[in-house]
């Protein structure tokens, strides 16, 4: 057990820290759009440019192969960069689904042509990706998806509907699961496509959320013709490829979410130092101190539990139980953190953006509401617990 860094790693830390200091716009940190966990529409242009800058500086995709725009480093270097981003309250990555899921999956399953075509543009944010898994009747129960793809010459003709598709309204590409063999049972007969969102027949309809934003979308495919070269990992092998994506998602979450959680926690502590309740500064209230300390501890636990998983990865082992729990810990901790922010604000929690009385411009009201989706997006908490119970603990299926 050793938390000390090599001289090269120390140098990387210094480099990224200096770069962030020089490059994060001061006003960014104080902007409501910037502190939110999830990119908000007002910030897309800024964030596109920001990710490009990160790419040019080499601070994104550190573990990806050099030939596809990465740096061929280990998760340790990735962790260092992520930690510095948290400390600097750096903006989140816009093309997060590309970087966290599409890229690693293409690197793992793609043909040479697919890798050359797609990977570096993911990092540079030239092409934004979204994920087409969920359907109206296939949310948690992904294997029941109904979108159909029928072979016609060199193309697959795809029709159906996806839902809860983040970023679809700005995305250039979609990781798409569709049923290519209607007779095969549930998990079988599904294929993973790299879909061009600009093809004829693709319609994106924003879905307004309880936050008032429309960050998710419905995506309708009406006889969209996709060339067979856009199949990833083989026909009818989509379930395996899709699970890989989800595995990378969890890994990416383990990294990224911890960083965002720390930023949120620091924000809560700042908030608590400034707000009063019954005439007493929140941080001087024994009850509130308990709640803040507990969140602090859980945020640290997520970090160290993540570090244990990364250590195994670095050793070439498969991550164990500690990896599966990352998402669950994050969801639970983050939602309670947001609830605590509301509690700290008290009656002010009712005032939102557009009022000069709104605390921090209504940032927390937005992030609080947005956090409700955490326990559903990327697999409900109930499903995560099933997965842990069945795959990690070996309990019988329901």
């Amino acid at each position: 057990m050793d938390f000390t860094l090599t001289p090269e790693q120390e140098a990387l830390r210094a480099e990224v820290r200096a770069w962030l200091t020089a490059n994060i716009p001061d006003e960014w940190v104080n902007q409501i759009v910037g502190r939110a966990d999830v990119p908000r529409a007002e910030a897309y242009d800024f964030m596109r440019a920001w990710q490009r800058k990160l790419y040019d500086a080499g601070f994104i995709g550190l573990t990806w192969p050099k030939e596809y725009g990465g740096r061929g480093l280990t998760f340790m270097e990735e962790l260092i960069v992520q930690e510095e981003m948290a400390l600097a309250k750096a903006p989140p990555i816009l093309n997060i689904l590309g970087v966290g899921m599409a890229g690693p999956t293409i690197i793992a399953y793609g043909t040479e042509a697919q890798k050359s075509r797609y990977v570096s543009k993911i990092l540079s944010c030239e092409e934004i990706w979204c994920q087409g898994y969920s359907e109206p009747n296939a949310g948690s129960d992904l294997a029941s998806l109904q979108m159909r793809a029928v072979k016609d010459g060199e193309c697959w003709v795809i029709s159906g509907q996806k839902v809860w598709t983040s970023l679809a309204h700005v995305a250039d590409r979609m990781m798409l699961l569709a049923r290519t063999d209607p007779d095969a049972k549930r998990h079988k007969g599904i294929t993973y496509f790299l879909l061009d969102m600009h093809l004829p027949g693709v319609t994106v309809k924003p879905l307004k959320q309880l936050t008032g934003d429309a960050e998710f979308n419905e995506v309708f495919l009406d006889n969209v013709r996709v060339h067979e070269s856009e199949v990833l990992g083989g026909v009818n092998n989509g379930w395996a490829v899709g699970l890989t994506t989800l595995m990378y998602e969890r890994l990416a979450l383990g990294f990224g979410l911890q960083v965002r959680l720390r930023i949120a926690l620091d924000g809560v502590v700042d908030l608590a130092r400034r707000m009063e309740k019954d005439g007493r500064v929140i941080t001087k209230d024994r009850i509130m101190r308990q709640k803040i300390a507990q969140l602090w501890i859980e945020t640290e636990a997520l970090k160290y539990t993540g570090a244990r998983g990364i250590t195994k990865l670095l050793k070439g082992e498969m991550p164990g139980p500690e990896a599966s729990s990352g998402k669950m810990i994050w969801v639970d901790t983050h939602q309670r953190m947001q609830e605590l922010a509301m509690e700290i604000e008290g009656p002010y929690s009712q005032l939102t953006r557009g009022s000069d009385w709104a605390v921090e411009g209504g940032l927390w009201q937005y992030t609080f509401l947005r956090s409700r989706a955490n326990s559903v997006e990327g697999g409900t908490t109930e499903i995560q617990k099933n997965i842990i119970g069945e795959r990690v603990l070996g309990l019988p299926k329901d």
Binding site: S144, Q209, D278, P347, S349, L351, R353, Q365, V376, E382
Partner: protein, 379 residues
């Protein structure tokens, strides 16, 4: 002993439920959310016609003369409908303050007009310190020329922007005990120097305002109740309004439970309705237990308030502490068990979720009221 509702009360519930299903469906609520006023004249008139705007006022001032146990029934149904508009601010804050503290003349003048739907009256109590106790009243009224000059800022004032008049709590004397030296004034909204500004809120069915008093001059007759001695009346108003709020929250929580149960019966995942899975079923059972407890404590508080029982302050704090947690959790679980659909704007769940959050911090949150319980049981 009888801890149940009378036939008349059950009839009121049935009437109210039907009324709100017809007159206040979620399309109506959503339309009002988009507007500053939050209510239509037509709807307000219908409430008056039902006798609900004066439900708890004595008959001699134009009310129906019923009690808080009756009101609780009505408020549950209003909460169930997530009813928008100035009912709470006018009937239970402004009006109740006039009832508790006002002169016979003031009561006659205002309560009849409130009950008949002609007047809306707000109560401006809290300030930027966001305190619910007497120490929170720091805006000052100084005597001058036979009248008073009012200065300060009030915040989180419900519906001040559409009220005909605003009852404002002002400090008229500094003293060792914050409870001493608070007075109430009835100020027309169009008084010179008074500015009521609507603020954007998370729960758009609740319209909150900032009320700025810039040397507002009022006559002696603007005083509601005795000078310096208004706090006990305010305290009673807060207590009563808290019971009403708890009932509204119970109604909302019950509605969320109903919506969630209905959805769990029809939504299929992995080949079965999700309500068949213990992960869903047990959460729903927990919700039921909490909602039932929430109601029990609220009903008891309403009874205690009606009886002027010495236990009333304790009963009210017990109710608000419990109900705040129960509604928040019910609304959160409701969204969770609905999956993605529960997170959409189109689905009505968020109306309740946001209402739960706003109500949680109104008149003190669970922590505040648990501490009050500790004090009241002499811990």
């Amino acid at each position: 002993m009888n801890f149940g509702f009378s036939e008349e009360q059950e009839l009121l519930r049935a009437t109210a439920r039907k009324f709100f299903e017809n007159e206040c469906p979620s399309t109506f609520v959503r339309a009002r959310m988009e507007e500053p006023g939050g209510v239509t004249d037509e709807f307000w008139t219908k409430l008056a016609e039902q006798g609900w705007l004066g439900l708890v006022y004595p008959e001699e001032v134009g009310g129906t003369g019923l009690g808080f146990v009756d009101l609780v029934v009505l408020m549950e149904e209003m909460g169930r409908a997530s009813m928008p508009g100035p009912f709470f601010s006018t009937v239970l804050l402004g009006g109740l303050t006039i009832l508790e503290a006002g002169s016979t003349a003031q009561r006659k003048e205002w309560l009849a007009r409130i009950a008949s739907g002609q007047a809306k009256v707000a109560l401006a109590l809290t300030e930027p310190s966001a305190r619910w106790d007497a120490a929170g009243v720091t805006a000052t009224a100084r005597e001058e020329g036979g009248g008073f000059v009012l200065s300060g800022t009030k915040l989180f004032v419900l519906d001040a922007h559409i009220a005909e008049a605003i009852v404002v709590a002002m400090r008229t004397r500094e003293s060792g005990r914050p409870e001493d030296g608070v007075s109430l004034f009835l100020v027309p909204r169009d008084a010179r120097g008074l500015e009521a500004r609507l603020l954007p809120t998370m729960d758009q069915t609740r319209k909150l305002c900032e009320v700025k008093l810039g040397d507002v001059r009022v006559g002696k007759d603007a005083l509601v109740g005795t000078k310096d001695g208004a706090w006990p009346a305010i305290d009673r108003v807060i207590q009563r309004a808290t019971v009403a709020l708890c009932a509204e929250m119970c109604g909302g929580a019950q509605k969320v439970l109903d919506m969630t149960t209905d959805y769990a019966k029809i939504r299929i995942a992995f080949g079965r309705p999700i309500g068949a899975y213990q992960g869903v079923k047990h959460k729903a059972a927990d919700m039921l237990v909490e909602v039932e407890n929430a109601k029990s404590l609220t009903y008891y508080a309403a009874w205690a308030v009606d009886e002027n029982s010495p236990e009333a302050p304790l009963a009210v704090s017990m109710a608000k502490a419990y109900v705040s947690d129960a509604f928040r959790r019910a609304a959160g679980n409701g969204i969770q068990l609905h999956g993605g659909i529960g997170f959409t704007w189109e689905h009505d769940l968020h109306l309740y979720f946001k209402r739960a959050k706003g109500s949680e911090f109104t008149f003190g949150d669970a922590t505040y009221h648990r501490e009050r319980v500790a004090q009241l049981i002499s811990l």
